[in-house]
């Protein structure tokens, strides 16, 4: 943790009618880093993402992005600050082509009254073409996003998140529904993002997590259980008992 904290969760609690999905969680994400969040089902991984991007409002605590409190901002304003999230089930825009999906994501000027003009489209298109190569969908450029395979949709959505050029990318189960080959291709794509972006990945699959080579955070019952390298986590007996042991 040599670099300055870009995102900080400070004692965040999310209470769903008495059920604490997130319980007094504090976490720091430095810029340009790779963080992998693991934990059993119901550990609060997705809720943590929801809290960061403003889909869920914390009951207590603060979410700080470059020192600014963002936990009360509207979702699209949080994206404007530089945080973008990929959802667990791919949410690509099925009625548009792959390149249009990326171009919409890459538009810097997102004010609605500018959408009648062509201002900024060239820049967005150039960015979209670059990301298209990066996520390996060049040969599907003009296909309708709704006609992509499940794996391709996942890559497209990763591409859309990348195209926004957000500083922090949250990738919620980017390999859901993928085979081993597709998973390692996804890991390769994600590794190229680190540095320019800070990446936070949620996943269950330990093989995939090991390919990411990131800082690992273990959540359990909404709270931070351990953090460290994957090897440290693997050797931890408590983690093994609640999570890895069960997974094996």
């Amino acid at each position: 943790m040599s670099e300055a904290a870009m995102l900080r969760l400070e004692q965040v609690t999310v209470d769903f009618d008495g059920f604490k999905a997130i319980n007094d969680l504090s976490l720091t994400i430095p810029s340009g880093s790779m963080t992998v969040v693991i934990g059993p089902n119901g550990a609060g991984k997705s809720t943590m993402c929801d809290t960061i991007i403003g889909r869920v409002r914390p009951t207590a605590g603060r979410v700080l992005f470059h020192g600014e409190e963002i936990q009360r901002l509207a979702e699209h304003r949080i994206v404007g600050r530089g945080i973008c999230r990929k959802f667990q089930t791919p949410g690509v825009l099925i009625g548009l082509s792959v390149i249009d999906n990326l171009a919409i994501a890459a538009m810097r000027d997102r004010r609605w009254w500018r959408s009648f003009t062509r201002a900024g489209e060239e820049e967005a298109r150039a960015k979209a073409e670059a990301v298209l190569e990066q996520v390996g969908l060049a040969d599907r450029r003009d296909a309708l996003a709704g006609n992509l395979s499940h794996g391709e949709k996942q890559w497209l959505e990763i591409g859309m998140v990348v195209a926004t050029d957000a500083e922090l990318l949250l990738l919620d189960e980017p390999t859901a529904g993928m085979g081993a080959a597709e998973s390692s291709q996804t890991a390769q794509i994600i590794r190229t993002l680190v540095g320019r972006h800070a990446v936070l990945v949620i996943d269950h699959d330990i093989d995939f997590v090991s390919q990411l080579e990131g800082h690992v955070v273990v959540l359990h019952q909404g709270a931070l259980l351990r953090e460290g390298t994957l090897d440290e986590i693997r050797r931890d007996e408590e983690v093994a008992a609640i999570y890895l042991g069960r997974a094996k």
Binding site: I53, R55, A74, E75, H76, V79, G80, C84, R85, F87, G91, V92, L93, I94, G95, L96, D100, I104, A105, M107, R110, W112, W113, S115, F116, T117, R118, E121, G146, M160, T164
Partner: protein
């Protein structure tokens, strides 16, 4: 598959025929064509709103009525002296012209009113709805309730709205006799010009980035939001543009039909608009025009011959459109998926299988 030259030629030929229609059709049929072309403006509004924006409104009759009534108010006042009242007001014992009638003595105010009143109400209403993320079935039901309220209000205010009978019996527009053949032709061409203008304007709108974002908000409001866009204004603009088109549609229809009444603005006519668009092809502007023309000509022919049959025929058409050709008539001729009669056979087989298991 239709290729571009064929479409251009076909479209050009249809436009040419429409321009020449006053010399090709009887006065009666020309009047019908004019009315139905006016209705197709409403239908194109729904293509934008429902087909492209995914927002189903069952209350477009409200805006149709606003346009129609505002114009009819002007027509009723046209030619009256300073102290004179429209005939139906006198019959209802109204002694002074209501303040909200007075501005519509002016033709320019009337034209602005036909455009701006639906725009303002459409924008205000839809902003309140979409900002609170009300959509889908809830939105459809609220718009339907709005149509019901509007029709009920019109009926209850006999003295100032003409009540159940609406506003009718007017003959002059800016010094022109509405029964004159030249004037009716002029109104027909004006309608045609408005339809063409609306068509090209909407085509431009849908091909702009706005159009893509509107489609995106239909397919994934949340995804759009989490890409940093606020989907609300796109939906509000679509709703307002559709409201204006529907208002103009109502005004032009009133000119052709010589009457506007609550029967044209309530729940049933609002739903009929949706059916035209579903049958014509809801994601195609041409589908809106085709649907409005075909369904209404069919309505005229069938309800003249067998009045009691029309509602069943309309229901059947709607069911067919939804189940057998969900992309509408125009959609069936577009792209690879042509109309396959076999699919009707499939439907029948499924229906029988369903009966066997239940």
């Amino acid at each position: 598959m239709l290729n571009l030259p064929f479409k251009t030629i076909g479209g050009g030929a249809a436009l040419l025929l429409a321009i020449l229609a006053p010399w090709l059709l009887s006065a009666y049929d020309l009047n019908l064509l004019g009315r139905f072309l006016a209705l197709s403006l409403s239908a194109m509004g729904l293509v934008l709103l429902w087909g492209e924006g995914g927002i189903l409104s069952l209350g477009q009759g409200v805006f149709f009525g606003l346009g129609g009534y505002l114009l009819a108010m002007h027509l009723k006042l046209d030619g009256l002296g300073a102290g004179e009242l429209p005939d139906f007001m006198t019959w209802s014992g109204v002694t002074a012209l209501p303040w909200w009638w007075a501005p519509f003595r002016n033709p320019l105010v009337t034209i602005l009113g036909v455009l701006l009143v639906p725009a303002a109400i459409g924008a205000g209403f839809s902003w309140l709805m979409f900002r609170r993320r009300i959509g889908g079935v809830y939105f459809a039901l609220i718009t339907q309730a709005l149509a019901l309220v509007f029709a009920t209000l019109l009926i209850s205010q006999q003295g100032t709205t003409g009540g159940f009978n609406g506003l009718t019996d007017y003959h002059n527009l800016m010094g022109l006799n509405l029964n004159d053949e030249g004037v009716t032709r002029g109104i027909y061409w004006l309608t045609l010009a408005l339809v063409a203008t609306a068509y090209f304007a909407l085509r431009w709108l849908l091909s702009s980035r706005f159009g893509k974002l509107l489609r995106a908000s239909r397919d994934g409001s949340n995804r759009l939001r989490f890409l940093g866009y606020d989907p609300t204004p796109y939906k509000v603009v679509a709703f307002s543009v559709a409201a204006v088109l529907t208002g103009v549609s109502g005004a032009m229809f009133t000119l052709h039909a010589g009457v506007v009444s609550p029967a044209l603005v309530g729940v049933v006519p609002s739903i009929e608009m949706v059916i035209w668009v579903a049958i014509g092809g809801r994601t195609y502007l041409v589908g809106g025009i085709v649907g409005a023309l075909l369904v209404n000509f069919a309505k005229d022919k069938i309800s003249t011959a067998l009045p009691e049959l029309w509602l069943y025929a309309l229901g059947l058409l709607f069911i067919l459109a939804v189940t057998a050709f969900p992309r509408g008539i125009v959609g069936e001729f577009e792209g690879e998926r042509r109309f396959k009669p076999a699919r009707l056979g499939d439907m029948f087989a499924r229906w029988r299988a369903g009966r066997a298991t239940s």
